[in-house]
Symmetry: C2
Subunit: 134 residues, 2 copies
DNA sequence: TTCGTTGCAAACATTTTGCAGTTTC
DNA sequence: GAAACTGCAAAATGTTTGCAACGAA
């Protein structure tokens, strides 16, 4: 996909993704921008987000509860995904293990570009709700 | 979900998932079993696979091209996903890094149950196709 | 003016669900 | 025989797409 013009809406969609750490879905972006852009359409959001992804401007962090989630932060970092509420949280403190890529390269006859790590469990918010109910 | 009876079809579905290293989708399981069980329905496959997942008998390895993929091997291991053909391949040679869970536990106030690592790149098969075309 | 971009709505693909009938224990 | 399970088909959900109108260079 060749994106030539940079429309106001396209800019707003990209800004919205980059301005949050919530790893938004297309629906989140749509709902967030709808008040300011009442004639925004969901198709446009999908089209642009796919374009950003193809261009490497944003990353997919996989599907949570059936919705694909994205990250405007393209620097390598890990994620935590809450098995209860589905929140996706950045983990910045685990250094990227380049050696792992090398190991896999040597044993798998695949070209390894990069790896992603996802931690799973219960987030702080959900833990608190649990405690409040006891 | 409480599964009490263990029907023939349920058994066949579980067997099918465990008997392959292809990390199958629901559709794959359905198509594989359909010849032997002509009255099998896709709904049953989905229902059972979700049940297995809830019970921890199988693991989801995320969505590839819009289809959720599963793994009957629940021992901790990593995966390689081909960015070209979508194949999911087991990586058994990268030891599970328990220390990483500990680090994240300490910095995030989340309960960490486990982590998954996905390597991305081009698989051997796709590399060969590429070379053949040169 | 020319193309890229958008809104809209229809089309699609995957997954879920309600219900009546069937199987398992 | 009761409870669990299934087939079927409809519905729900998330995403893509065709096309005419719109907007940016």
């Amino acid at each position: 996909m060749a994106r030539k013009n940079f429309s106001k809406k396209r800019e707003a969609i990209y800004e919205a993704i980059c301005s949050t750490k919530s790893h938004p879905s297309a629906e989140w972006v749509y709902n967030t921008l709808k008040p300011e852009y009442p004639d925004l359409s969901l198709g446009t959001v999908y089209r642009n987000m796919n374009g950003f992804k193809d261009d490497g401007m944003i990353l997919s962090v996989g599907s949570v509860n059936g919705q694909e989630r994205f990250d405007g932060n393209t620097k390598p970092h890990s994620h935590f995904i809450c098995n209860r509420c589905g929140d996706v949280i950045d983990i910045e403190n685990v250094p990227y293990n380049m050696q792992a890529d090398e190991v896999v390269r040597n044993v798998s006859n695949c070209d390894i570009d990069y790896h992603l790590t996802f931690f799973y469990g219960i987030c702080g918010k959900c833990k608190n709700i649990e405690e409040d109910n006891n």
